[in-house]
Amino acid sequence: MFNIQRLLKRKYFFLGGIFVLAIILLGIIEPVLLKRNEAEWGTTLESRVKELKWEITSFYAGNEKDLNTKLSSLISGIEAKKESEGFSSILNSDEWKGYSILLLDSYGWTVAFSNFNENIFPLNIYNSKPGAMFYVQTALIDYLAVTGKLNYGGNSYTIVLGLPVEKKYSLNTSYFEPVSLTDDFTRKYQTKFEIHPGTEEVKIVDGREQSVAVFNSANEKIATVVFETPTLSVDQEKIREVISLLQLIFLLALIIVLLIKLKDWLGKISSREVQSLIVILLIAGFRVLFFIFEIPTRFISGELSDATFFSSAFGFGIVRSPLDLFLTVLSILCITIIVYDLVRNAGDEFFAGNKTARYTAGGVIIVFYFLLLRAFGASIRSVVYDSTLKYFKDPFLIPDPTLFVMHINVLLIGLSVVLLAVSSLLLFFRLGGGKKKYYFLFLFVVLQVLGFIYDIIQSDPQGSNFTRSFYIIFTYALAYYILTKKTKSVFEYSIFLVIASFLSIILLNHYNKRLERTSLPATAQEFLRGNEKLNEFIAIQTAVQFSRENELIERFRSGENNFDPYSFKLWSESVLPREILSLHISILDTRLNELGHYDYNFENHNPIEWDTKKEQDYQVKNIEDPYSGNLVFAVLAPVKHDDVLLGYVEIAIHPLNNYFNRKQCYNILSSYNQRLNSTVDFSQLIAFLISDRDIASSIGNISLNQSDIEYFRGKLKSEGDEIYVSRKIEGKSYLIFLQKNKPELGGGFIGVALRTRDLTVDLFDFFKVFFIHSLLILAFTILLFIFRIKLLWKTLFNFRARLLYSLIIISIVPLFLSALYFKSLVEEKNQDDVNYKLQRRAMQIERYLQNYFSESSLIQNEVFDKAHRDLGSEFTLYENDWILYTTLPGFYKSALLPYALNSFVKENISDKEGKQVLIDENIDGYKFKSFYLKTNYGGKSIIINVNSAFNEVNLSLSNLEVDIFLFGSYSFAAVMIILFSSFLAGQISKPIRELTRATTAVAAGDLDVKVDYRDKGEMNNLIEGFNEMVEKLKQSQLELAEFERETAWKEMARQVAHEIKNPLTPMKLSIQQLVASYNDKSPKFNSIFEKVTSTIIGQIETLSKIASEFSAFARMPKLKIEKVDVKKICAEAVSLFDSDLHIKVACGYEAVEVMADSDHLKRSLINLIRNSIQAGARHMEIKITITGENIELRLADDGSGIAKENIERIFDDNFTTREKGMGLGLSMAKKYFESIKGSISVARTSGKGTEFLIIIPKTAGM
């Protein structure tokens, strides 16, 4: 019959079997499913295509519904607004971020707009039916939009709410926010999609393509979506992935089941070392297994699994992404915790051995200790060098998830190293065996010297002298603290984490500085790179590629005449932004008239003359710009359709990519700065190009004088073609890399300089990372606390804890509040500062324009150009809410910025009396401040706009810097406060704890306890008084016991005498009677003799009964047998002696249960411990093991031992070697253990200590 009990007992076995079966079955099912899928593909495909079409139409219908709901909400919001509020306050609110909104009056003029940069609106905006969704196609973005009617203030408006669905350009920078419905569909359905907005029929030429027309609620066609039919291979791949995933889940479940069984099995192994080794091998094995099966990177895609953020070739790729690194580091940390625990709890026998063996082991350990430092340095070096993350330059106080995970990795690496280093030192200390403070001081000095020598002998030491010294100082101090600490606490790990954080940040900073230094030659190389041929090649390839773009051909054929935004689009999607700094793209008609263009840092004013009669794929020309003298390389490629010429694409570049001659390279548009140097903050970089005579060009805020130039020239002449020098320029220290320039590139030399980092910057960097680490440490400590709350519950509100809370609260709360206050203060000041600096620029421009207008007759645009050149500011002018002039035409023509004045500005200063306003604006994800100033120019009202995107606005202390200094330094202070408070609370509460412990011991009956604590003041008086009181109590008790014993003996003797007297009296009388009758020769002698003997025998029986009853009275009291945890009883007994003796309880089990009397057991242990103390022991170890059916307790101390002649007698009653001893302790203990079928004996004894062995059967007492 099915035995449920048996089943439950072997449940893990059956579960494991099920999982294995499932994995095998899935493997068998897979080819069957694939074959079936193939056979049914025809039908499946039909239904799949139907489903796809339905989903697409549902998507659009759903979107229309959502847009209409949003539109209603927008209209209600506008209608509910106050009259004093402008429309833009609603349109620009956070609720409408991500939407584009237009508000048109009844004539179709724009009243207000938000996130809509187009200069000319498509006609369908005006013609659409309210509530019916339609496509709005602009040069750069396609929108899905709905319109509605709004009545406000007696006027009627049309409101257009659009959702961007397709960005037709892309910028290869971190600011670009891609939006593509096509890509979303492609990704979701895993087949190629094309969306054709509009009503035209789309011809399907490829038999694999399908199309679905999209209609709005007014039954108007708004788009055609074309997609390739799903392929069988993609479908089958999905099936394979699902099967694979299921198999993996079952495998993981199987592993969990095996681990549970393993735990039980491990519990049966008595040797802690063997247990630990098995667990270590398992951890390592699992990590390797996870690496082979790509768990969990298979399931977690995204930045955490992306090698572009971090990857190293170490361990065959076991750390090839931030997530892989985390798993590897976590595995290593688990192993180091096990090793540390082993070392911490290692018994003295582990360190026994002859001197040679111990010294050899010590030497090996020291070598390991220094190799550990090398490994630490190499790991942190890899974290810096093999990563594109900027640990110190991240622009946010709280980093994004990937950077956060890397910070965790750095901290965990540090923790593993610190744990291993401390373990090594603990082993080293214990092998040495020294105990005096001078011994440890001497060792510390030796270690520092050895560390210095170790660094000298290496060709490339990891870290610096500073990092090495701190590594030794901190790990040594920690190891010494652990060695001398009596009790163990898991909160030690928090201290380890603080030290690990400190050391890892020092190393991180060291390698970051090194990387910045080594990046200078690469930057110089980039500046000097001869790119001429390369750039010309790229220009030709790109021009030919553009000329063959289908979209360009369609635009020509549709008669479009504004190609400005399209030129920008072409540029943004090509390789040009990444390669070439200065270029010009034009789209020309068949007569070479320009239909549109886009310039990027290009200066050439003359149109290029081409020979249009040439029938070639492209033509090239090399010319020199007469104004700037720059060389220009130009390419012209014809655009044709069916051999009919439609127009031309013209690309012109400055082939010699001289970065020094650039106008400006904006990070919003190009990643070129990133390419030049991604390590150093480019805005901090300084570079100069010195020709054979003088400084030719420079970048950054620096001006060299003649002596600087001569100094550099001299250094290059004497020390080589590539050198590093340190020099003070304009009072600031710089590290400069100098490199000679090749003669063919102009000769001279180039210098790339980095400001030398002072202590302020180093501290800033330290706090930036420490803040993150401190959050992690805090979170860890809180978690530890929560997990151990059961154990800690009793101590949660004790004196020490309350003292700690008080110290923390009175220190940290004011700290936190002041940080918040300063933060808000600085943010406000910075806002004012930005406002002030932009305002100053705007006013400078205002004054300049007014001055020149009144004094000069120059044409308007030339005045503006001159203002731009002379003042070095980028600005835009508006008149009648429309652009009048801009120094950045490229941004406006390309529709990245709108020609129309910002609605908020219009409402607040253009239409009203306001004079100036500062607002937030953005281009894609690039946010900046924009200042608008209304002014009078030649009798006309114009608005001057300057912003921080194109004009440098340096704040003395940015918001981020303030956050870092405040929160970073305060978090450091908070950690120090917690540590010191904990220490102080411990110190202050120590005498109270000692007193509490002593009082508990006294209450438990131990009157030999004494509080040994030296202090001044009331505490000392209290302790002395307590000790005196206990001593007196002990005396009184002894006297009382003596008196009671005497009284008891007397009483017993009296009673015994009394009882015995009773039968003796008749015996005496009877004998007297017998003697009398004998003497009298009485005739009744025989009868008297019989009577007397009978009486005497009777009385003897009575005496015998009296003796038996007294014997029974002296028997031991009855035992109370119950299930007790031997480990717990030991701990309770030990807790009474903490201050007198270092007692360690070694037990490899959670609990050790036996049937016995807990009081007797406890009293026996207390007795043994007290004997050890009285024998002068300082250390004691109680080892609890289970051997077969018995539980063994070994109590070993380092006292003076038992004299040989006394060994046999120590368990005898009343045997004692002490003056005041009763001699009953060991004998009672022996009687007790024997009564429960156990035993107690002396395992060994010598002048170095004694070991008692107690054996208790598991079934004792039963």
Partner: protein, 146 residues
């Protein structure tokens, strides 16, 4: 036998000599691939077979990589290996050949078209690689896949 002052034996020797010289000249004239070209061919093979190991040994300490997805950056040689490997893992090459290889310049470069299959869909990308001479060794300084 004499042929205008030259004996038969000598004329044969002369012919043989002329033949050797001719052969050597022809061989000398047939173009030997330059060091840069060899490296580009290895890269071509590596990309075509999705095997980064074939050319990862040529990575400079810092390689500028610009892919169709993501922001272009300078990567360490270690990172560059995995970045390209992961990219080719997702974009499975079906064919790759350099259309143009320039040499004999300070910065040789090569340009080609990569055909791939990604998630079952075919695609094309332009691949562009430049080399730089560092301590008399050609190293890959830039990889652009657009």
């Amino acid at each position: 036998m004499r042929l205008s002052g030259i004996t038969y034996r000598n004329s044969v020797r002369l012919c043989l000599l002329a033949f050797f010289v001719f052969t050597l000249t022809i061989n000398g004239q047939s173009k030997k691939p330059s060091e840069e070209e060899k490296i580009f061919r290895q890269i071509e093979e590596g990309i075509g077979k999705s095997s980064v190991d074939k050319f990862s040994g040529y990575f400079l300490n810092k390689v500028f990589i610009s892919l169709a997805t993501g922001t272009p950056k300078n990567y360490s040689a270690n990172q560059a290996y995995y970045v390209i490997k992961n990219f080719l893992g997702i974009h499975n090459p079906t064919g790759f050949k350099f259309d143009f290889i320039s040499g004999g310049t300070a910065n040789p470069f090569a340009w080609g078209e990569l055909k791939y299959i990604k998630n079952g869909m075919k695609g094309k990308a332009k691949v562009f690689i430049t080399l730089i001479n560092e301590k008399n060794q050609w190293k890959i300084s830039q990889i652009t896949i657009n």
